[in-house]
């Protein structure tokens, strides 16, 4: 039995120790907002926060997560889509198909928590998630908008 703290709730799950955190979140915890895109930490669709840091859950064995560590998924970023990144995303209509956007939003939120006023170069360097629809310029604008509002140090 593995104990995980996901979005503030403790879950007890049965999984082989080498099961990636991604699949435990999706299949045992039942939160499917975190996506599978590549399985090798290339695309970032599986990005979640582990104690506030962005991690790629597809390549993190569940056994490497300690019971006391706090996992936040897209479902737990805010109770009502009110995180500054989510609000900026809604205003700018950032998503197209949306499949990468959970990971994109979690990467953006982690960046702003660490660096509330990132430069354009920092955003380009730090947000390495893949979007095949090509929303990058609106992602850039969305992070910039959220940062300008200066309340993104949360989450």
């Amino acid at each position: 039995m593995i104990r995980l703290n996901v979005n503030g709730s403790v879950h007890e799950v049965e999984a082989e120790p080498d099961t990636p955190l991604l699949w435990v979140i999706r299949e045992q915890v039942g939160l499917t907002g975190t996506k599978y895109g590549c399985g090798i930490a290339q695309c970032g669709a599986c990005t979640v926060h582990l104690d506030g840091q962005a991690v790629r859950a597809c390549s993190l064995p569940v056994s490497a997560v300690e019971a006391g560590q706090k996992i936040v998924t897209i479902e737990g970023l805010s109770p009502d889509r009110s995180h500054p990144v989510q609000r900026a995303w809604a205003e700018l209509d950032v998503p197209q198909c949306g499949f990468c956007q959970s990971g994109m939003i979690m990467a953006a939120a982690a960046l702003l928590r660490q660096t509330p006023k990132p430069s354009e170069a920092e955003i380009r360097r730090e947000v390495t998630n893949i979007c095949r629809c090509g929303t990058y310029n609106r992602v850039l604008a969305g992070i910039t908008l959220a940062a300008e509002r200066g309340e993104a140090g949360r989450g």
């Binding site: 999984a15 082989e16 099961t19 990636p20 699949w23 999706r26 299949e27 045992q28 039942g30 939160l31 499917t32 907002g33 975190t34 996506k35 599978y36 895109g37 590549c38 399985g39 090798i40 290339q42 695309c43 669709a45 998924t73 897209i74 479902e75 970023l77 805010s78 889509r81 989510q86 995303w89 809604a90 209509d93 950032v94 998503p95 197209q96 198909c97 949306g98 499949f99 990468c100 956007q101 959970s102 939003i105 955003i123 380009r124 360097r125 947000v127 390495t128 998630n129 893949i130 979007c131 095949r132 629809c133 090509g134 929303t135 990058y136 310029n137 609106r138 992602v139 850039l140």
Partner: protein, 722 residues
């Protein structure tokens, strides 16, 4: 239409709506639906609470079609946009209702333009019926009533009512025989840069994609199909994995695949990767990129070829030319690489087969399900789930649906969700077709282009996957996208007195597919790069050289001029920055791009700025068109810079995003879009701009380095300064 039928259709339609899918599925009984909500017609349902449900036949995969089609219906309907919601009718309902919703196919940038007339007529007919119902209640002529924001009023008597209140009476009326449609200049909902209807659920993880679907009692499957197309399963050792955690069953899938069914996908994947399988790789196991290239090279000089465009006498004109310019180009296999890998959930019993899947063509998915199920199409149903990207992969062929149904047949009554790993997806694509092209131009002594000979050698998409659409003589007309002599779809933008464009069809075993932009992608690279080459050879400015050939193509010219002006073609670029241009017509729209790039000493290309112009005739949602155009540069430039699938021992070598890189935010240039709808026609916007992304940048790379990139992707050309 009877009320009973309407009601059943409405309930099933609700269950199939992606956003409400889990609720709809778990509560498919009559009690779950609002009391007796009749549809006004196939496109419109008005609920008593004034919610307007607009039915969408085409698939939403990110391109914004769902919102755009709803805008067109809502515009004619005159409803309150803030009360609009949408749902997908199912392919089974379309079949049962004699295709009331027309074509479900969502490809070729046809989602909006080919629905344009039908959905507006649907909205207008519903409005007419709602007004007629209100007018009958009041005993006044319908012509005296007005409609605004879902409110019907009769100014003369001061009475008013709402869509929701008169909907039951309207639903009982016969549909009007003819309706008048609004002039686009009077639009207040369509044509406006409205926000999408489907954004909120993409911000908090609640959007259900096919890969996310969960049904009661569902099992999960992972598959390995023979890595060589055409190969088969010789044997496999199920006992070696049947004791692994969670494994329920190991099944052969058709001739060429083996799947493991387990309680979770991770366990199914772990077991299928451990499963010993012996393949018979068949006759294609010796094919490589080199052997394919040799076959295509032979086609460059072949005697026989299908003619796509011909004028004058090109051979004579080349003989008489003062100067000949010649070059050979090539375009590789490329994977669509939708971020959501292929997946489908199927439940099969001897009486019925149901499939839940992200698909660009629900009707084709239904046909695939029926074929694999051994049942009639009427005994099958497909529920379309929101797509995590499509780009053409999820439209014409439904190989993954077939697999899911074959697996489900082994576990009657149990829903099974099949998910491809990224590796399975990369190696079992429906790839961008591979071609080579020899270009030959004749110039007279004054540097005028008098002859152009273009020989395309390579793969036909139609021959491989929809041979019924080949011309009677075997020609694949799709090969000539952007090069046609005329027509509303994809005409060449130059008048060249002596012209011959033909295609020597050479079909390797790697299965091609419609890949966003399709053959406009290579054709624009070939034609627009070569135009640049010829202009330079003639010592002329590439814009001025093109303009001389475009007098009879004013719409092509208008977009080209627009990007040239915005980028400042006549002015000097910043130090170290160089410019390139390209234009094409594709998917019914006219597009052009101008690029500014610099190339460093070590050969690194930096794209600073893109200007893109589009004339789609009519623009239904300008801000979504802007998103499509910006996104087109990500797709097109990923292909131009990196996109290549190579073949070794008959199989695709690239397996994931580490070996098949794509563009990311750090490389994304600023994109300025110029939307210049000239009216009188409606073109697509999801694809045409892909084609000009690469040649505009590659022409700028030439301007920067003097090196011509003729082999895609660009990584094969050494751009380091000597």
């Amino acid at each position: 239409m009877t009320a009973a039928l309407s009601r059943r259709v409405f309930l099933a339609g609700s269950a199939a709506t992606a956003g409400s899918l889990s609720l709809g599925f778990h509560l498919p009984s009559a009690t779950a639906a609002p009391a007796a909500t009749p549809e006004i017609n196939a496109w419109v349902v008005v609920r008593p609470d004034e919610t307007v449900v607009i039915r969408i036949a085409r698939s939403e995969m990110g391109q914004g079609t769902l919102t755009g089609l709803a805008q067109l219906v809502a515009e004619e309907l005159g409803c309150d946009w803030s009360r609009v919601t949408t749902e997908y009718p199912t392919p089974g309902q379309n079949l049962a209702r004699n295709r009331a919703w027309g074509d479900f196919s969502t490809g070729g940038s046809r989602g909006i333009r080919e629905s344009y007339a039908a959905v507006r007529q649907g909205g207008a007919a519903a409005r007419t019926m709602l007004v007629q119902a209100a007018a009958a209640q009041w005993g006044v002529p319908p012509a005296e009533c007005r409609v605004e924001n879902g409110v019907i009023s009769h100014p003369a008597s001061g009475r008013s009512t709402s869509f929701g209140r008169v909907a039951p009476a309207a639903a009982a009326l016969a549909p009007p025989k003819e309706v008048a449609l609004k002039d686009p200049k009077d639009w207040t909902i369509a044509g406006k840069p409205l926000l999408r209807l489907d954004t909120a659920q993409k911000l908090d993880g609640s959007q259900v994609y096919g890969i996310d679907l969960t049904l009661p009692g569902m099992l999960n499957a992972a598959i390995r199909d023979c890595p060589v197309q055409g190969g088969t399963v010789k044997s496999f050792d199920a006992a070696a994995v049947s004791g692994m955690p969670g494994v329920r069953k190991v099944v052969q899938v058709g001739d060429s695949g083996v799947a493991v069914v387990a309680d979770t996908f991770w366990r199914a994947k772990t077991a299928v990767e451990a499963l010993p399988i012996v393949w018979d790789e068949g006759p294609n196991a010796t094919v490589s990129s080199e052997t394919i290239a040799a076959t295509l090279r032979e086609g460059l000089d072949a005697e026989e070829a299908f003619v796509g465009n011909k004028a004058g006498d090109v051979e004579a004109a080349l003989k008489g030319a003062a100067r000949i310019v010649e070059a050979t180009y090539s375009y590789p296999f490329q994977n669509h690489a939708t971020l959501e890998p292929m997946n489908a959930t199927a439940r099969w019993t001897p009486e019925r087969c149901e499939v839940w899947t992200p698909t660009q063509n629900g009707e084709a998915a239904l046909a695939a399900a029926a074929e694999a199920s051994g049942l009639s199409a009427r005994a099958c149903e497909v529920y379309k789930i929101h797509l995590g990207g499509g780009f053409g992969r999820r439209g014409a062929t439904h190989d993954w649906v077939r697999q899911a149904v074959l697996i489900a047949r082994e576990l009657p009554g149990t829903p099974v969700k099949l998910i491809w790993t990224r590796e399975e997806d990369m190696t079992h694509g429906r790839y961008h077709p591979v071609t080579q092209c020899r270009m030959r131009a004749g110039l007279d002594k004054d540097g005028n282009l008098t002859a152009l000979r273009m020989r395309i050698s390579g793969q036909s998409i139609l021959a491989a996957i929809v041979p019924g659409r080949l011309a009677p003589d075997g020609k694949d007309p799709v090969t000539f996208q952007g090069l046609n002599p005329g027509g509303p779809e994809a005409a060449i933008g130059y008048t060249i007195p002596n012209l011959l464009i033909d295609h020597a069809m050479r079909n390797p075993h790697v299965i091609p597919g419609f890949w966003r932009g399709v053959n406009t992608n290579p054709n624009a690279i070939y034609l627009e790069s070569f135009m640049d080459e010829v202009a330079h050879a003639a010592g002329q400015d590439p814009l001025a050289f093109r303009r001389k050939l475009m007098a009879k193509h004013p719409k092509h010219l208008a977009v080209l001029d627009a990007v040239a002006e915005r980028i400042g073609w006549e002015t000097k670029p910043p130090a170290g920055v160089h410019r390139g241009l390209a234009q094409i017509m594709g998917f019914g729209s006219y597009v052009a791009a101008a690029a500014e790039v610099s190339v460093s000493e070590d050969g690194t290309v930096k794209i600073h700025r893109i200007v893109a112009a589009t004339d789609p005739g009519i623009a239904v949602n300008p801000q979504q068109i802007d998103a499509q155009i910006a996104g087109s540069f990500v797709y097109g430039l990923s292909a131009a810079l990196y996109g290549e699938c190579t073949v070794k021992d008959g199989r695709i070598e690239q397996t994931n995003f580490d070996s098949y890189p794509v563009m990311r935010l750090d490389e994304m240039p600023a994109v300025e879009t110029i939307l210049m709808p000239s009216g009188g026609f409606i073109g697509g916007v999801g694809e045409p701009t892909i084609a000009v992304a690469a040649p505009a940048v590659l022409n700028a790379v030439f301007a920067a380095t003097g090196k011509r990139v003729r082999q895609i992707p660009l990584k094969h050309t050494d751009l380091r300064r000597a």
